[in-house]
């Protein structure tokens, strides 16, 4: 009797020691050791600061006002990235455009994550006919190429930031349904889910308190890497003319605008693209770091 009591006490001591570094803490610790992840995170933080700065200190008028005397000037001290065909400073426009790309990247992934998480969890947890229906619908959506689907959705809803975000989000839904479903399937038959069921938890509660948290790591990794993909996707749609309407300095649209002057003013194409690349790169390397941190098996 006293033996077991001692054991329980010992267990709590051990678990308290472990509790010092929680699961999140452990992941954070592993991520800090990954150079790429740290660099990626720093870039993302810098971009968020740029976003805040441009929202506070760059007025919308200053980036849309035209100046006929300063048309197509090459990069100089006054205009680090040069000026466009309407004499607008490209540097300010690119900085201001940060918020569009980040918003679309994060927003689109939120759209696909929410829908994908719910449908994927339902499909994986219930199985049977529900699973079949959801997965077949997801297959159908996945069989329409993303760029074409995005074009069609933007055409229907009209060109705006919100609609572009939505269009890019919808095209990624099947990927999230698939990943959620498969992680739910691996978790579903674990003992603790059975235990939860035996104490009378409702299905919905089991899904969201037991199944989803335990199958989360592949989903988190997908989220991070999909943000980069969403930014590229939306830039492509903007480039084709299915993006944010014209005066807005979205990066893809800036490249598209600069293309007309590519022979005389290549910097108009160069700089916005560089920013897209750096942003996507940051999300991608952070995603890689996160994957290694969440799955120590892969590292060895």
């Amino acid at each position: 009797m006293s033996e077991t009591a001692k054991n329980t006490a010992g267990d709590t001591l051990v678990s308290r020691q472990y509790a010092k570094r929680s699961r999140m803490g452990e992941i954070w610790h592993r991520m800090k050791r990954n150079k790429g992840a740290v660099v990626g995170m720093c870039i993302i933080i810098a971009l968020i600061l740029v976003m805040i700065y441009s929202a506070l200190f760059i007025s919308y008028d200053s980036i849309t006002a035209m100046d006929a005397t300063a048309r197509l000037q090459p990069p100089s001290a006054a205009h680090p990235f040069g000026t466009d065909d309407s004499g607008r400073d490209l540097f300010l426009r690119v900085l201001y455009g940060t918020k569009y790309s980040i918003a679309i990247g994060v927003g689109a992934v939120c759209v696909s994550l929410i829908v994908g998480l719910i449908l994927g969890a339902i499909a994986g947890y219930f199985g049977g006919i529900v699973d079949d229906i959801i997965m077949r619908l997801s297959d159908i959506l996945a069989s329409i190429p993303a760029t074409l689907m995005g074009m069609v959705i933007v055409t229907v809803l009209g060109q705006s930031l919100r609609n572009l975000l939505f269009a890019v989000g919808v095209t990624a839904i099947p990927a999230f349904i698939r990943i959620t479903r498969s992680s739910v399937l691996t978790v579903r038959n674990q003992e603790y889910v059975e235990a939860a069921r035996s104490i009378g938890m409702s299905n919905l509660r089991i899904i969201f308190t037991q199944v989803v948290p335990n199958g989360l790591s592949p989903i988190i990794v997908t989220v991070t890497s999909r943000i980069g993909a969403a930014i590229i996707e939306s830039a492509g749609l903007s480039f084709l003319g299915f993006g944010v309407p014209v005066p807005e300095p979205e990066w893809g649209a800036l490249i598209s605008g600069g293309r007309n002057f590519i022979r005389t003013a290549p910097y108009l194409t160069l700089f916005p693209g560089l920013f897209i690349m750096i942003t996507v790169l940051a999300f991608n390397i952070m995603g890689d770091g996160l994957r290694d941190a969440l799955d120590p098996k892969l590292k060895r």
């Binding site: 190429p145 069609v152 399937l185 980069g228 490249i255 590519i262 991608n284």
Partner: protein, 321 residues
């Protein structure tokens, strides 16, 4: 196996129905119609009404969709609402250009990516491995149209070696192919590296080395033959994505392929042409993915035996997938 293929091909039917419903329905709902660009000031109200009637715009959308589907069932994708050219002929005339670009880029891109990925995996942790990783990460983070424009700036305008856009000669082919191949290389190298890496550490490789198999044979026979699956997946996915998503690269280089055709059709509200293009591209996409699935069976006897073993095993595989 045959049953499986037939099942997958039959699966195309609901896909076509749903894709056509989604795309036709959405484009029909979109503000603006195909006749907007035909109306001018000299037309009277009756002329406009006649034009609307000609395109069935005075009837409900379900009527137009029904009519469209009725033709589709008979294998007729209809005619472009603007040029009146048959959608099928239009698509087929543009398709070889898209295929040419995708296949040449695939051969070059994957042909370079697999050796590079293996090389990086063999030297994991060294400077060469890191350089490869940096290369793939940068390649994956670049929008393809931007890379295309950079190539144009460098090779067409600065060096004046190659034409910036158009098609016809082999010189026109170089830039689009390089652009597509580089994009493919980034993902394929990464995939090849990671699947090779997984294999290099596998027990059966240690066994092979222990029994004295020469290093070259260890890599080529034992490791590579097990790394094929993920590589084929990547190749299949890249090829289907390139064929389906060719719109962007084709627009950059003015390449007369199906991607550009679709973009133009959607922007001009040519519902029939746009819908036909999206349906045909989707079919292509699904068929390619089917081919990839079947290829697995040929490279991996373990999967082939699953097909042979029948339904129960396949169900199991699906559950764990």
């Amino acid at each position: 196996m045959i049953r499986y293929i037939i099942k997958r091909i039959l699966w195309l039917i609901p896909i076509i129905i749903c894709v056509s419903l989604i795309v036709y329905g959405l484009l029909d709902l979109a503000p603006g119609t195909v006749i907007d660009s035909m109306i001018n000031d000299t037309m009277t109200e009756e002329d406009v009404a006649a034009l609307r009637a000609e395109y069935d715009l005075d009837k409900p959308m379900i009527y137009r969709y029904g009519k469209y589907m009725l033709n589709l069932v008979q294998g007729d994708l209809g005619r472009s609402q603007i040029t009146n050219e048959k959608v099928w002929n239009n698509f087929i005339s543009k398709f070889p250009a898209t295929l040419e670009l995708a296949l040449i880029a695939l051969v070059i891109g994957v042909g370079l990516a697999v050796p590079l990925g293996i090389f990086a995996a063999k030297h994991a942790g060294t400077i060469w491995d890191n350089l490869t990783t940096i290369f793939t990460l940068i390649g994956m983070s670049m929008p393809s149209f931007w890379l295309g424009l950079l190539l144009i700036i460098l090779f067409s305008y600065r060096l004046k070696w190659l034409p910036a856009n158009g098609s016809g000669t082999i010189l026109h082919l170089i830039l689009p192919v390089v652009c597509t191949a580089l994009m493919m290389m980034a993902t394929a190298t990464r995939q090849a590296r990671s699947s090779m890496l997984e294999n290099i550490r596998a027990d059966y490789l240690r066994t092979a080395r222990a029994k004295g198999v020469p290093e070259r044979a260890v890599i080529n026979k034992h490791a590579l033959s097990n790394a094929w699956i993920p590589i084929i997946t990547t190749v299949g996915n890249t090829l289907s994505r390139t064929l389906a998503g060719s719109a962007v690269v084709e627009s950059v280089f003015g390449w007369p392929g199906v991607g550009r055709l679709t973009v133009e059709a959607v922007s001009r509200r040519d519902v029939t042409l746009a819908c036909g293009c999206v349906i045909l591209t989707s079919i292509l996409y699904v068929v390619l993915l089917l081919i990839v699935d079947l290829l697995y069976a040929f490279v991996d006897p373990r999967i082939k035996s699953q097909y042979a073993a029948g339904k129960t095993k396949r169900k199991k595989k699906e559950a764990t997938a």
